[in-house]
């Protein structure tokens, strides 16, 4: 089942990339990077929401499963946030000839990346029992989420150097974006699912060896 999910996700992404590189062109052609940029932005935020829900769940419930989902979504979200910032910088270099500028959207994306990075570092370096580690990281996840709405709000409502006005000329472009979106979201779900079950198996194995 999972293999099917991954195959579907990667297939969709390949089609979207192909379209982005060839036919579905928004003039000028560099804007095709948006086909990769926008879905990854959505997934980076989505993974943070999953992280928030998992953190709240763990604090409320105490069950290990929530914690594993939190770790998985933090890792996946970190990958998506990295891609978000990297493609964003490439896009702005191609479009406006600057790599970065402190505009609200770009700053918020950078903050998102930093939040993920610090979460992962906390995970790895907090000593103490696993439960305490998980609890503190859950607290961090909740507090950090209070910073995240900035990303979303600034993307929607603010005048910014960021948003170019483009409209879709042909069906291929819409298709490329939608396929890319679907593929990335499926990929995010698959990654979180896969990572969670890996962590789960690891945990059960350890519990058997060191009861």
């Amino acid at each position: 089942m999972r293999r099917l999910l991954f195959a579907l996700a990667i297939g969709l992404l390949m089609v979207s990339t192909y379209l982005g590189l060839t036919t579905g062109q928004i003039a000028p052609v560099q804007r095709n990077i948006l086909y990769a940029h926008v879905p990854n932005a959505v997934c980076a935020l989505l993974c943070f929401v999953v992280l928030l829900i998992a953190s709240i769940g763990y604090l409320g419930n105490g069950r290990q499963g929530w914690d594993l989902v939190a770790i998985a979504s933090a890792e996946a979200g970190f990958v998506f946030a990295t891609i978000l910032n990297a493609t964003g910088m490439i896009f702005s270099r191609a479009e406006w000839n600057i790599w970065w500028t402190p505009s609200p959207r770009l700053v918020s994306s950078a903050i998102l990346w930093f939040l993920y990075a610090v979460y992962l570092i906390l995970r790895v370096s907090l000593p103490g029992s696993r439960h305490r580690n998980a609890r503190i990281c859950a607290v961090f996840g909740i507090i950090a989420f209070l910073d995240v709405p900035l990303v979303f709000i600034s993307a929607r409502f603010l005048p910014d150097i960021h948003r170019p006005n483009f409209s879709f000329d042909s069906g291929w472009q819409t298709a490329a974006l939608m396929l890319g979106m679907a593929g990335t979201v499926l990929l995010a779900g698959g990654l979180i699912w896969l990572r969670t079950s890996l962590l789960h198996s690891n945990l059960k194995l350890e519990e058997e060896l060191f009861p």
Partner: protein, 239 residues
């Protein structure tokens, strides 16, 4: 309710008296702040014209607050490690939230003393004039102080009670305070005369828009984070 105030006052007074007697952290904070201001002043030697100075001055002040604030917050729970004081606190008939608020007040007081000394030094070094806007400057400093202390107190309890290095605390606090620094820098830049009160166009500072908006953001940020940290503190402090 009376217990709340009694407990709060007791812990605040305890922390402040201990610090005044030990005289350990406060001088370190002040010297660190002065050093940061000095280093940034020297680093910006080339742009010592009146245009460049307010920008560097605002930056220097916020950096000094952040890093010295971290020192203060580390102290607030490091001392409890010895002799198992933290157990004593937890066994007292106090709501854990009260402990948080008391530590928060103590940290705010420490940082305020620090600000009273280092801000004039910063103003002198960078040759900045605030004119008649002293009340606004105090308001900005207080709001920033509250924000830094609220996040720092919570996470110093989280990180400190396991005897980790302080750098872990720094990255956690700095990353959460990143969004607050934008309106905070805007406010200081306006006060130091580097920017007009209203700014249009694109860019992060334009996003803030006006001095009153910056104060509003700081206030909102403080309100949200003090409440959130207060609510989550009991989770962090139980073993």
């Amino acid at each position: 309710m009376k217990d709340f105030w009694l407990g709060l006052r007791a812990i605040v007074i305890k922390d402040i008296v201990v610090e005044l007697r030990a005289k350990q952290v406060l001088p370190t904070m002040i010297v660190l702040g002065m050093l940061i201001v000095f280093i940034l002043r020297m680093a910006s030697e080339s742009s010592s014209t009146s245009a460049g100075a307010p920008v560097m001055g605002a930056a220097a002040l916020w950096i000094a607050f952040l890093f010295s604030g971290l020192l203060a917050q580390e102290r607030s729970f490091a001392a409890e490690q010895q002799n198992g004081c933290i157990d004593g606190l937890l066994l007292a008939p106090l709501d854990p939230g009260t402990i948080y608020l008391a530590k928060l007040v103590a940290n705010v007081v420490m940082l305020s003393i620090f600000e009273l000394i280092v801000v004039p030094i910063g103003l002198i070094s960078f040759d900045l004039h605030v004119g008649g806007r002293w009340p606004q400057l105090l308001a900005v400093l207080l709001l920033g102080n509250l924000g830094i202390s609220s996040v720092g107190t919570l996470f110093s309890a989280a990180v400190q009670l396991t005897r980790t290095r302080g750098s872990l605390l720094s990255i956690v606090v700095l990353v959460i305070l990143m969004p607050m620094l934008i309106p905070a820098s805007f406010a200081l830049l306006v006060l130091f005369g580097a920017m007009p009160e209203q700014v249009g166009g694109t860019g992060s500072l334009a996003f803030v828009g006006s001095f009153r908006a910056a104060l509003g953001y700081l206030l909102a940020f403080d309100a949200v984070f003090v409440v959130a940290c207060w609510l989550l503190f009991p989770v962090v402090i139980q073993e």
